[in-house]
Symmetry: C2
Subunit: 208 residues, 2 copies
Amino acid sequence: MITNKNCIIRLSRYKNALYRLQALGFVKVFSDNLADAVGVTASQVRKDFSIFGISGNKKGGYQIDLLLEKLNNILGKDRLQKVIVVGGGHIGSALMRYRGFEKEGIKIIAGFDIDPAKINRSNPVPILPLEEARIFIKTNGIRIAILAVPDIAAQQALDLICAAGIKGVLNFAPLRLKAPESCIVNYVNLEIELENLIYFVNVAEKTE
Amino acid sequence: MITNKNCIIRLSRYKNALYRLQALGFVKVFSDNLADAVGVTASQVRKDFSIFGISGNKKGGYQIDLLLEKLNNILGKDRLQKVIVVGGGHIGSALMRYRGFEKEGIKIIAGFDIDPAKINRSNPVPILPLEEARIFIKTNGIRIAILAVPDIAAQQALDLICAAGIKGVLNFAPLRLKAPESCIVNYVNLEIELENLIYFVNVAEKTE
DNA sequence: TTATTATTGTGAAAAATGGAACAATATGAT
DNA sequence: ATCATATTGTTCCATTTTTCACAATAATAA
């Protein structure tokens, strides 16, 4: 069983690079082409594939369409993923407007907020009262949620959606949340990403 | 010299957790408190500190204010970081409106776009023509940029800002870019984050 | 003062990750 | 048909990262 998050991220990147190659008219690809496109070594590419039993042809490389099929299957992209957003603030509403997910087979089907002023049932992505989240999650069988509420509200909101059946959360609140075993929480934090970048830029500046 | 990105990310998280503890009135903290708050082991906390020569008191833990001072120093948070955003689309403009960076000492001071319709010099964060980026970066000594332009334009935009003196880029375009030695590029990709989450949720579902 | 206890700091062990190297082999050339 | 070549798949090795374990020691209690 694969627990290496980086490995799965690389699979996503291979997939994205393959679509670009395919759009350029390529039909097959070698491990070192993919390695270049994604910024890893060719060994790494082949090993990643080998872990998932993906094989190519000696001297012939990999056929892009078959490879994409396998990667999409591994990444669960063979069916539409319905996602909800909890929190209708800056980040939440930007995510609801963002069209980039759709081409990846990820569809945000509703947003939720406690503030009655934010409710809007006629939006392309309707924004509903948080009280309705539980029943919405259950009736629509939603497994994935994006959590974009203020720090102070994050734990409570998480408890609510986990209890309703959410299995995975992408959390934008900048603190660690306690989730039940049944629910995986991943963290996105742009401030930390920037801090990280600033640190390495500073280090590079000092050592040059 | 520290090259471990995860380690630096943990420092940011320790810092954030320490501010919360401080706000609750705590004055000192033990490695296992921090470990709980951040979701790592106590050994890890102490080892991270040890790497940077941060020391506490046997049986007394760490004094929060001193610890914060050291972490902030390491993370370059002792001075305001001025950042520009390249690209005035959905993501770019959401970032320019986002107020969360300011409390972290990160200030977005301008945006840039090629589309004349997006130019707006009287905005709180002015949006300027991309042609002006070069001179703006040089005259203001900007080192950090956020790149939020369409895939197709990303490499060219990166070349431009690197030539103007940018040393670090947080790139939202979902492809690997070629940057000169002098410039570090980090990647943010929400589609990949969601794919990753979906993968692990699917795995958990299958193995339960 | 001495003993006890809690906590740090770190060296050594273990685990995870990534990379190099090369045997196996399919393809194409002669 | 045979040889040369290019590329995969995998094993083994190196490096990085994390965890364990415990000596050192400061604070507190007796």
